[in-house]
């Protein structure tokens, strides 16, 4: 099927809804309130690092009522909610809830997908005739109850049911917390009529501005816009046609994207880091990036470094090599080549390392060069020990100073490394 179809004309998808979207409400904060009963009913914010420069990664509904938002800094949150309690993230707890949620979802359909740690989709296509005969709204209520029974009574989730993933997610965000909404071809227009453009997932300020320039100011106008206008005038790409289908309830988001990069970043713990400190942090970032590569059975040819300076300047550089590596020492050696070319005019505030040009690691191929083999065997031996006794039981001396400071934190968008994250020493 050609990706772009001029003069595409599609009706609204009249198929009965088969997609169920589950969204855990304020996931990390709710899990913390479930775990610590004394925090229930109190404004709570979860942060990755309990420091003065911390920012909120999840806020409880009590905190949200006071105006605290995700991404807000410590100082701003303090002004809005002086009684706000901040706690640090605890990944094993969220991992447990994540696994419970997957277990519940899998009991209904083999076709499930996790969009992130706290969001999942169940595709009921092909299961309705024999297994899940009850209305999806009833199944949605049952999932809510099972979450309370199997995790704890404080757990709440939003459920959205619709013919495609986008509308199901929209439905799940209509009544927070603990809502359940269904969007069908019958109530699509009335549902969209109550929303703003930016209420739609994927439409933020920039896309809103693009739509506005084409005279589209409301979701209903967006729905009524022809595919050609969206593709040629608004988005200037096939994305416009995707939006045309998406809004009409046709599926365009059932796609898996391959991993293109693997990396890590760290906001410096010192205001004026010395050369030694910088190299120690860089070494640790490289080691953990390499761990992620090996965890996924990948090796990388390219390395990319990104530095943010105290004056707001950024510097980045990438370098592509002929061979692919996945060992911590190799990645660090290559990162150093790039890192040593950085400008030294100001203090580094943040550094990020990422590997690109990924390919499957060829661990079965023995090199003709003894030195390379030795390094590969050493990495393998270290991995075996760390797998047995916890990550960083054996680590490079150059990373020791950073080991306790750079904590692997919750990955928001992806859950690919959750198992690795939870295997701590």
């Amino acid at each position: 099927m050609p990706r772009y179809q001029p003069n595409l004309l599609l009706p609204v998808n009249a198929e009965p809804p088969q997609i169920l979207h589950i969204d855990l409400n304020s996931c990390f904060a709710t899990v913390e309130q479930q775990a610590r009963p004394l925090l229930r009913g109190r404004p709570l914010a979860v942060t990755n690092r309990l420091t003065k420069n911390a920012c909120v990664v999840a806020a409880s509904y009590e905190a949200k009522d006071l105006g605290v938002k995700v991404g807000m800094g410590f100082a701003e949150a303090k002004l809005l909610a002086p009684d706000l309690i901040m706690v640090e993230t605890d990944p094993p707890k969220y991992h447990y809830v994540y696994k419970k949620l997957i277990g519940i979802m899998k009991s209904y359909s083999p076709k499930i997908g996790m969009k992130s740690i706290d969001e999942g989709v169940i595709d009921f296509h092909g299961t309705r005739q024999n297994v899940n005969r009850r209305p999806l709204a009833v199944i949605g209520q049952e999932i809510k109850q099972r979450l309370r029974d199997e995790v704890g009574p404080w757990m709440k989730c939003n459920v959205g049911i619709a013919p495609n993933r986008f509308l199901a997610k929209t439905a799940a965000s209509l009544h927070k917390p603990d809502g359940l909404d269904v969007i069908t071809h019958k109530n699509l227009r009335s549902t969209l009529a109550d929303l703003e453009l930016t209420d739609l997932t994927g439409i933020a300020e920039r896309n809103q501005a693009r739509l506005n320039t084409a005279g589209i100011y409301t979701p209903l106008q967006f729905l009524d816009a022809p595919a050609d206008v969206l593709a040629r005038k608004v988005f200037h790409s096939v994305c416009g046609e995707d939006w045309y289908r998406r809004l009409r309830g046709w599926e365009v988001d059932d796609v898996e994207y391959a991993t293109k990069t693997v990396g890590r970043q760290f906001v410096m713990d010192e205001w004026q880091p010395t050369e030694e400190t910088l190299h120690s942090r860089l070494s640790h970032l490289c080691e953990t990036t390499a761990m992620k590569l090996r965890y996924r059975g990948l090796a990388a040819r390219g390395i990319h470094l990104y530095l943010l300076y105290a004056n707001g300047d950024v510097w980045y550089e990438r370098k592509l090599f002929k061979t692919a590596v996945s060992g911590g020492a190799d990645v660090y050696r290559r990162a150093q080549l790039v890192f040593n070319r950085r400008p030294r005019d100001d203090w580094v505030r943040m550094m990020a390392v990422s590997c690109y040009k990924l390919e499957p690691a060829q661990t079965d191929q023995i090199s003709l060069l003894e030195e390379i083999n030795k390094e590969a065997w050493l990495t393998e031996a270290i991995d075996t020990i760390n797998h047995q006794y916890g990550e960083f039981t054996v680590t490079y001396a150059s990373t020791l100073a950073a080991k306790g400071l750079i904590k692997q934190k919750i990955p928001f968008g992806s859950t690919r490394y959750f198992e690795l994250l939870c295997n701590r020493a």
Binding site: V31, Q34, A35, R36, P37, L38, L39, R42, A45, L50, T51, K52, F74, A77, K78, A81, P82, D83, L84, I85, M86, V87, E88, P92, K93, H95, Y96, V97, D149, E150, V151, G152, N386, H387, Q388, Y389, G390, T393, C422, N423, R424, A425
Partner: protein
Amino acid sequence: MDQSTQINKDVNIVAFYFKNTSRRLRCFPKRMELDGKRVDFTETGLVHPTKKGQRTIHVFDMTDGSADYRLEFDAQELSWKLIAITDNHYAPISTQFAPAS
């Protein structure tokens, strides 16, 4: 800057209660002895497994109504450890990071 008081001490769990969840009979701590004092738990917050290498540790977040307790059960050594206690007065953000007077 964690608000919890880190204890990290072996403790005795002297009473348990049982609950039938998801068709499995599960066991939870009911009473703990710590430095000669008894603590009776009134509610179980969350029980989740975590790993230390290949060792499975079961973490029990419990409360006695006036403080939250984090207990760990080592499934290999069959031992209980009290990791941390946080009292009811979780310090609000306004008092965290305040300069020491």
